[in-house]
């Protein structure tokens, strides 16, 4: 099953999101990698790297990012990892993309399908 890693600047955001995803799909491995190593506002390549390794059950990992240094540190983390082709950053809205992704991952979909569902979350209309 594809695993997820959540990278937001705010550790509160990724923590809350993980809780929400766990309620929706308890069987998917979701790692909270938000905030700095000190738990402050920011991101950490090392924290992300550790999370990727933990989230990988053999079917790959999708990383959800908020913006800015989240993207850069996620890319650095991937650079540090051996089996980098099984790790993808989704070009997706953080919360909405993560929700779609956890659903598809829970359905046992492939890495590419999970990424694709996260990306498509962009297009879901919230208000008419």
């Amino acid at each position: 099953m594809v695993g997820l890693v959540l990278v937001s600047h705010s550790p509160d955001i990724s923590k809350g999101l993980k809780k929400m995803l766990d309620e929706a799909q308890p069987k998917v491995t979701v790692l909270d990698a938000g905030g700095t190593d000190e738990g402050e506002m920011g991101t950490s390549a090392m924290k992300i790297q550790t999370a990727i390794e933990k989230a990988d059950n053999g079917d790959g990992v999708v990383i959800l990012v908020d913006f800015g240094s989240s993207v850069m540190n996620a890319e650095m983390a991937i650079d540090f990892i051996e089996d980098a082709h099984s790790v993808k950053i989704a070009d997706a809205p953080f919360i909405e993309g993560a929700y779609s992704a956890v659903m598809e991952a829970g359905f046992g979909k492939s890495l590419d399908d999970v990424v694709e569902s996260a990306v498509q979350a962009k297009d879901t209309k919230k208000v008419q």
Binding site: H9, M41, G42, M46, S69, M72, N73
Partner: protein, 206 residues
């Protein structure tokens, strides 16, 4: 020559300059970002100094370690960016005998890595607008490079970056309003170059 000891001096001097301009960097980042660049850079360079490998004779090893310290201690965009600069530059420098021209090649690889990491080009109002022109003058002058040439180029670049419109990072949200304001990252890069110049100068005098 660019020795491991000079590399260490460079980082120690940078840490001092950044610490003493912490508030300025904070203020610049407050105006166009989230106001943590002063804190980020102070924390990062403090760690870099603490973790400096004092034993090695290889300047590349020094810079690589600095890159890792910055990457792991700076939670903001400047972490992966300066981290990449120093890690890539350090990996490029082989052995104990490093000329100024080698340093410029190393920094070239570093800044190219930085551009790739930030998906950034010149004239997007980032640290790259300070560093790349300086690296160009280093490449041009080779082993004849002087401290004054470095400083002059850095000052000139700093004036230019101020006028650009921000296209990358948090400052990009300010669009035209970013023009005329200094970029925090370019300012911190300026202090890195000023520090490098002072190390070259001391070496010249020695």
């Amino acid at each position: 020559m660019f020795t491991a000891e000079m590399a260490r001096q460079w980082i120690k001097e940078s840490a001092k300059k950044i610490e003493s301009h912490k508030e300025q960097l904070t203020d610049l980042d407050q105006a166009l970002g989230d106001g943590d660049h002063g804190l980020n850079m102070t924390r990062g360079f403090k760690a870099a100094v603490e973790q400096l490998p004092e034993e090695t004779d290889e300047p590349g090893k020094v810079l690589k370690t600095v890159g890792t310290s910055l990457l792991s201690k700076i939670g903001g965009a400047s972490g992966p960016l300066y981290g990449t600069l120093f890690m890539k530059a350090g990996s490029q420098l082989e052995g104990t005998t490093v000329q100024l021209s080698d340093l410029s090649s190393g920094l070239r690889v570093g800044v190219e890595g930085m551009k790739k990491r930030g998906k950034a080009e010149r004239e997007e109002k980032t640290m790259i607008d300070l560093l790349e022109p300086v690296i160009e003058i280093m490449e041009e002058k080779g082993n004849e490079l002087t401290a004054d040439q470095l400083i002059d180029k850095a000052k000139e670049a700093l004036e230019h970056v101020k006028e650009y419109e921000a296209k990358k990072g948090r400052a990009a949200y300010y669009k035209e309003k970013s023009k005329g304001k200094q970029d925090a990252g370019a300012q911190s890069s300026y202090y890195l170059i000023e520090s490098l110049a002072s190390v070259l100068e001391m070496d010249g005098e020695a």
